[in-house]
């Protein structure tokens, strides 16, 4: 009756959780196949920002999405009622359902969850509204735009577009690790039997407010993002959405679905230390929580997708935390933000998809724009060129302002074995 989690977690095909479809909007590719190609090729999404006026900034590159036409995946809702981030999230949700090859009518008959993480919600619209207010007064603000700024639209609109009424639709605002939180929420809900499937991920749109905030913190790179590099200068802001279809192994097997990877577990904690400075001990503890939850030993991890923002503070703290957990020879550790920029609430969702695609296709995406690894970082960041690799266990780090850490552990799925 209640949708509470059950007391005991069952360890069988009904409670193992797998990934069977992805929706992707990124500056290096739309859809799982193009995204995988971009990751393998080490494509860069960096270019001059055109989405908002950048006059007055000495440098203004970003990883903007151009020409993606997300409206092609939106059939039922009027696109003008959706903000930029919601447009990405709704289109990615439909893409994930289609990619999973599941019949929408069947999905409607099941109990589901739609959980979307975000940092800024529709701040791009808020930028525009406030700009209008300052220039012309509040009466000039467009009511259609005003109606679409609520962040819960990110998940609810996806439910509306897909006609999924029997869903728990939530938007999670734990900033730049929110995508991993959403995946964790879906994982727990499926494992406990509370839902049959979950569409989980994250979405954000570039906006001037966030760009300016990071700029004023001195953390916007002048040209490109160079994680773990001695000469790294910070982040590039990015945008996009990643939505993952989670379902039980039993459900995926019953319908003969393609299984990209298994979600083995996750961990989350809070630094409770500082708004913007990460805490090494707490980040390390989060990795331990995730590995323990997944039942995975440190030595079994083949790849870490780092939070890897490319700022001075993050990269040193994160790589030291990795050493604390993994010892002197940590697994190869890459930063997708070198290619995608920092897509904020979408970042850990897109990274989780990248991890699954890497395990599925057998390669490690590179950390691009790399010249010389910072001796303080001491990791193999797979510079500039992707490499072929058989990846069995992949760890996806998501860290956020406020010290909100969430880490997801994925496993390659091989004929029923972990």
């Amino acid at each position: 009756m209640s949708d509470s989690l059950s007391d005991a977690m069952r360890d069988d095909a009904a409670s193992r959780v797998v990934l069977t479809g992805f929706g992707v909007f990124s500056s290096i590719g739309v859809g799982a196949d193009e995204f995988a190609e971009g990751l393998r090729a080490g494509r860069s999404g960096a270019k001059p920002i055109t989405l908002f006026d950048t006059e007055g900034f000495a440098h203004a590159n970003g990883c903007e999405i151009t020409g993606a036409e997300p409206e092609r995946w939106i059939h039922n809702l009027p696109v003008e009622t959706l903000g930029r981030a919601t447009t990405f999230s709704v289109a990615a949700a439909r893409m994930a359902v289609e990619a999973a090859g599941v019949d929408l009518e069947e999905l409607r008959a099941q109990r589901g969850m739609i959980s979307i993480g975000t940092t800024d919600g529709e701040s791009y619209d808020l930028d525009q509204l406030v700009g209008t207010e300052v220039a012309s007064g509040p009466a000039a603000m467009d009511p259609t735009v005003a109606r679409r700024v609520s962040p819960n639209r990110l998940s609810i609109a996806a439910a509306q577009e897909l006609g999924l009424s029997n869903v728990d639709a939530v938007t999670i605002a734990t900033a730049c690790s929110a995508g991993n939180y959403a995946i964790g929420q879906g994982f727990d809900a499926i494992r406990s039997g509370a839902v049959d499937y979950a569409l989980c991920g994250g979405a954000d749109a570039m906006c001037r407010k966030t760009f300016t905030g990071f700029y004023r913190l001195g953390t916007i790179a002048p040209d490109v993002c160079r994680p773990f590099d001695s000469e790294r200068k910070g982040i590039l802001t990015g945008e996009g959405a990643g939505v993952l279809m989670l379902e039980s192994l039993a459900s995926a097997q019953a319908r003969g679905a393609r299984i990209y990877a298994e979600v083995l577990g996750y961990g989350m904690n809070c630094d409770a230390y500082h708004q913007v400075a990460p805490n090494q001990a707490s980040v390390a503890r989060c990795m331990e929580i995730a590995l323990e939850n997944a039942g995975v030993k440190e030595s079994e991890v083949d790849l870490i997708s780092a939070h890897g923002t490319g700022t001075k503070a993050n990269d040193v703290t994160e790589s030291r935390a990795i050493h604390d957990v993994f010892g002197d020879t940590p697994p190869r550790t890459v930063s997708l933000k070198s290619m995608l920029g920092h897509t904020m609430g979408a970042a850990s969702a897109l990274a989780a998809i990248a991890c699954a695609l890497s395990a599925y296709h057998g390669f490690i995406p590179p950390t691009i724009n790399h010249r010389e690894t910072d001796p303080e970082c001491e990791i193999d960041c797979v510079p500039n060129e992707s490499v072929e690799a058989d990846l069995r266990i992949v760890q996806n780090n998501g860290l956020a302002f406020g010290g909100n850490n969430a880490i997801v552990i994925l496993g390659k799925y091989q004929d029923g074995e972990r």
């Binding site: 701040s123 300052v134 956020a400 406020g402």
Partner: protein, 316 residues
């Protein structure tokens, strides 16, 4: 495994306990965070964060988890969930306005974290040393009940031992423009705990979490929970259009009519008021409902009064 409410905190104008909330008929004055928390460290925090810290201090104190400025359980195992829909929208708008008016140089770097929507939850964690799972829920009218539901899920899946669940909303010019009227300048908070953990530390039980659900409309949610609850429901809490579709024969409580728009704080304020009612002698489970047919979705949750204390065996 049962989930108990072992702490309740209230931060509303003129009501700083569950009993005062249950008895209140109108807001009086305003919550003064500096008087509760001391002035130190409040300067760069927005109103919603300050209100969240007040509710947090009160709920942790009430639960017996915070004494004399010290947390007396393992902070690594305490989760924080905060519901607020309007939260820092004033900061976000002010930042955008500053950029438009003065250019980027007008913007203080101190504003960047404050413009991130998880600011309240992370500040609560920092102030009280709560290192467990930490999240903000900005999920529309059902947000407060969603935070409670998720807090219970974190406890059931063993990811935390205590969950501090807070719902707050600030009142200011910007949020009034957005919602079209005054906003309750405050909120409420609960501590949730697994029954075994609560009993092990001898915690006072204020209530038990019953069934809960998120559905398209309030009537459907109420009916599903009523059908699944072992004892008959004895009342409900709902606001606005949601109240109109719930059983008229049972006592109903519309707290937004008293406090103004509660938004993300609604579910928590409803729960705290229900607990105030239990303490005053109300018996039987009540249903909390948030979100009407006009909204994007609706959440509902049953709160049960604590079981009557079992007769203690005579000492031998």
């Amino acid at each position: 495994m049962s989930i108990f409410v072992t702490g309740v905190g209230v931060a509303l104008p003129g009501a700083d306990t569950a009993a005062a909330l249950a008895a209140a008929v109108s807001p009086v004055g305003s919550v003064d965070p500096a008087a509760v928390l001391g002035k130190k460290g409040l300067r760069y925090k927005d109103r919603a964060t300050q209100l969240g810290l007040v509710a947090g201090l009160r709920v942790l104190t009430d639960a017996g988890l915070w004494r004399d400025g010290v947390l007396n359980v393992d902070g690594n195992r305490v989760a924080v969930l905060v519901s607020s829909n309007l939260g820092n929208v004033d900061t976000a708008c002010r930042v955008a306005r500053t950029i438009a008016d003065e250019g980027t140089r007008g913007l203080s770097p101190m504003d960047t974290p404050n413009a991130s929507s998880n600011i309240i939850a992370s500040e609560v964690a920092i102030r009280f040393g709560l290192h467990g799972p930490n999240l903000m829920v900005c999920n529309g009218p059902g947000s407060g009940l969603d935070a409670l539901r998720w807090g219970a899920a974190l406890l059931r899946s063993g990811r935390a031992d205590q969950a501090v669940v807070i719902g707050v909303e600030p009142d200011n010019e910007i949020v009034r423009e957005l919602v079209g009227g005054p906003v309750a300048d405050g909120g409420a908070a609960l501590v949730l705990e697994r029954s075994e953990a609560a009993e092990a530390r001898g915690a006072t039980v204020h209530a038990e979490i019953g069934g809960h659900v998120r559905v398209a409309g309030p009537a459907a949610g109420y009916e599903r929970l009523a059908a699944g609850e072992p004892a008959p429901l004895t009342g409900w809490f709902a606001s606005g259009a949601a109240a109109e579709v719930l059983p008229a024969e049972l006592p109903g409580h519309d707290l937004s009519a008293i406090w103004g728009e509660l938004s993300g704080a609604l579910g928590l304020v409803q729960a705290a008021a229900a607990i105030g009612g239990f303490a005053a002698g109300a018996r039987g489970p009540v249903c909390l409902v948030a979100g009407s047919d006009d909204d994007d979705g609706s959440a509902a949750l049953v709160l049960r009064p604590p079981a009557p204390a079992a007769p203690r065996p005579a000492a031998v």
